[in-house]
Symmetry: C2
Subunit: 327 residues, 2 copies
């Protein structure tokens, strides 16, 4: 049985609550725009991460669901706004919110998903004192995501990004929500402080591994599986770990060629393929893959303090899934 099949009963509970949360509001257009991404499917990795961490610690994952729903809504709000900023007209094989509706509606729908996420957090059946911490952590996480997005944009104009710069950006843009998912799962399960810390570290490592793999999939994935055009990141000029590596390893004509294609919105499919070939030949792709695999290995190590259980097995497989998936 595949991991997603083994997780299906948990995922069904999460999906049911996501759907229920979105049955709100009096304006039909806004409601449809809000639902467009969250109800188009998705792996639900962040809610599942939170769920499995809590279940592995206390046996009860259900208690995390309102938080997981909140995280998923937040993740989707960032996608809606991201796609406006990146002028991406498709996502997961469907039309982007700002294309199906319009840019103002997409801005508002993102904002409304953001607000709805915090309403969901307030449904958490935890001590009020814990809720204060969770609200604060989550709000901070979203602000860090915003900062990571800003850095990501600014990096696109630069050729001097270091691996450390890249990791700072990914820490904020992507890994922070995984960190918060895993850490909050542990908080809600009333884990001792060392376990809370270990789960936070695990989420950070997993989220970073996930993002690096995502960037690899942009070059290696099949369009009909990823739902994104092949090499879109190259056209956009995204500073992925592979690009950072290439900038410090490509020399002479190869570097010039690479630089002329990177960020060129009008680059032909052939040019994109040339750029991808350069990323392969200079070792950037295998460097990034190994980097991600090492982070995922370390992430799994962080769970060593959890006792054996079905939930722990699923958690380990979920961490692995970050670098095993093809979409």
């Amino acid at each position: 049985m595949s991991l997603m099949e083994r997780l299906s009963s948990r995922k069904t509970k999460i999906n049911r609550e996501i759907e229920r949360s979105l049955a709100v509001g009096e304006n039909e257009t806004l409601r449809e725009a809000m639902k467009h991404y969250p109800l188009a499917g998705g792996k639900r990795l962040r809610p599942l991460l939170s769920y499995l961490v809590a279940e592995a610690i206390s046996g009860d994952g259900d208690v995390t669901i309102p938080f997981g729903v909140g995280l998923e809504l937040l993740h989707n709000f960032t996608l809606v706004h991201d796609d406006i900023m990146d002028r991406s007209d498709f996502r997961r094989g469907i039309t982007a919110v700002h294309k199906k509706f319009d840019v103002p509606t997409a801005i508002i729908a993102g904002d409304a998903l953001f607000a709805l996420a915090f309403e969901q957090l307030c449904n958490l059946q935890v001590d009020d004192a814990l809720l204060r911490i969770i609200v604060n952590d989550t709000a901070l996480a979203v602000r860090e995501v915003a900062e990571g997005q800003q850095m990501d944009m600014e990096f696109e104009k630069r050729t001097d990004i270091t691996v450390k710069d890249y990791l700072t950006m990914v820490d904020k843009k992507t890994a922070r929500l995984y960190f918060t998912a895993a850490r909050t799962g542990a908080i809600v399960a009333r884990a001792p402080m060392d376990v809370i810390r270990a789960m936070g570290d695990m989420g950070y490592l997993m989220g970073t591994g996930f993002q690096i793999w995502d960037d690899v999939l942009d070059l290696e994935g099949e369009e009909d599986k990823t739902g994104k055009p092949f090499g879109g990141d190259i056209k956009e000029g995204k500073r992925t770990l592979m690009v950072v590596y290439a900038f410090s390893h490509l020399k002479g004509d190869e570097r010039k060629t690479f630089q002329s294609i990177l960020g060129n919105q009008k680059a032909s499919k052939k040019s994109i393929q040339d750029a991808v070939e350069l990323l392969h030949s200079c070792g950037a792709v295998s460097y990034a893959k190994n980097f991600a695999l090492e982070y995922i290995r370390e992430a799994k190590e962080k769970t060593s303090g959890l006792r054996s259980s079905e939930a722990k097995d699923l958690l380990l497989d979920l961490i692995d899934y970050s670098v095993r998936r093809d979409n």
Copy 2:
């Protein structure tokens, strides 16, 4: 002494905390974009409303400050996103965030202000159980604001808006934050339930009066005071209470003329003046003014349960200020 002078010590405290709250983050561009509106001044009506309600009830307004800061950041986040949607390049006489920076940065800065607001709420020195209620109320309020903005946009395409439709939209778009400001001030001051309700009603009435007056100022205000171009709402085709009234009172050629100017981005200054003249001659402007004045009168009545105090006097004057200001 003017009201704002009498409120200056309270406003100074609020401003200091707004400034302090914005000294965060590692990305300079994002930080500057976040600061651009909140530190360009502003009347701070929402934080002051919350402050004075609490002070009038318990004698302590300071306890509301983190909440007031949160509200002000939320208000500013909606302005940043609004200006992108409306393509307004100026605000309060300064360049709009999306013009001074760019659209992606403005979207992100708005999101980050939103997140920061919820971090500020978590600083409230109130029982954790109350904080849960306040976070939930505030998140719901922001979602209602989003819905109000969506309705406002959709109304621009219609000529059949009723006064009731208009009030529903303004309730959400504007009055909801005033409602939440006043109500939360009462909650934080540990007022009994009837007072909490009365203060919420008062905020709703004041916020509605404020918005109607704002629309009047768009036609009557001096550009150098309002910081907005004369008749901007006419060009945009906003369905203000005056426009709603005009649609049901203008007939024949006058209606045709009015409709041809409303929402015409290329309308000349002369045409705008003609449209404003029609709003005056059909009685729409005085209708809207009287409507606002009546709401403000009712808002003041809602404070009848509060005992006499300096704070109550200031609160009454603040309510009045909604329809006395010239910017």
